[in-house]
Amino acid sequence: EDQVTQSPEALRLQEGESSSLNCSYTVSGLRGLFWYRQDPGKGPEFLFTLYSAGEEKEKERLKATLTKKESFLHITAPKPEDSATYLCAGNYGGSQGNLIFGKGTKLSVKP
């Protein structure tokens, strides 16, 4: 069964304290690994897509990387406005092409 698992469930950081969020996924059939940001009361906002091991993408203080069985979302020198829930999702293709989501990591950045 396709599975995407995120850790930790919650992460508290001080402003400026860099860290990483983890997403492990079922390797077989993966056609893309996605990262989304979700603020309270809002829909998920697309951040990155990664397709092959070794690929990296950056946006401001965020960098997403992909290995053969995990993806990491690195947050460098976070600010309070980076506080949100970060969702990882795998696309396993097939007739649906739907995303299989992890349960998310809730990040809190304190000033």
């Binding site: 697309f46 696309n91 992890g102 998310g104």
Partner: protein, 111 residues
């Protein structure tokens, strides 16, 4: 540029009533999706549509009906609402089967 919108944003209904949640996108994306988000489960696919008049079931379709007569609209109907359908519902669209863009969500409470 409205993107993808959902209405209503909040809905309270009673058990047994029919409820329709609306989704509209202005991008002319081919693919549209309905997800529900519940604590402990993350986002789960209810139904998806690859084009007008083409729909298919996702992971949790029971109790829901969809239609897609126009590319830009993808309504979700709960034929006879149950308390277990209390959730936050998100619509998403995609030009390909991969990167999906989400609406702001509808919070539905079934009493």
């Amino acid at each position: 540029d409205a993107g993808i919108t959902q209405s209503p944003r909040y809905k309270i209904t009673e058990t047994g009533r029919q409820v329709t949640l609306m989704c509209h996108q202005t991008w002319s994306h081919s693919y549209m999706f309905w997800y529900r988000q519940d604590l402990g489960h993350g986002l789960r696919l209810i139904y998806y549509s690859a084009a007008a008049d083409i729909t298919d079931k996702g992971e949790v379709p029971d109790g829901y009906v969809v239609s897609r007569s126009k590319t830009e609209n993808f309504p979700l109907t709960l034929e006879s609402a149950t308390r277990s359908q209390t959730s936050v519902y998100f619509c998403a669209s995609s030009e390909s089967r991969y990167t999906q863009y989400f609406g702001p969500g509808t919070r539905l409470t079934v009493l």
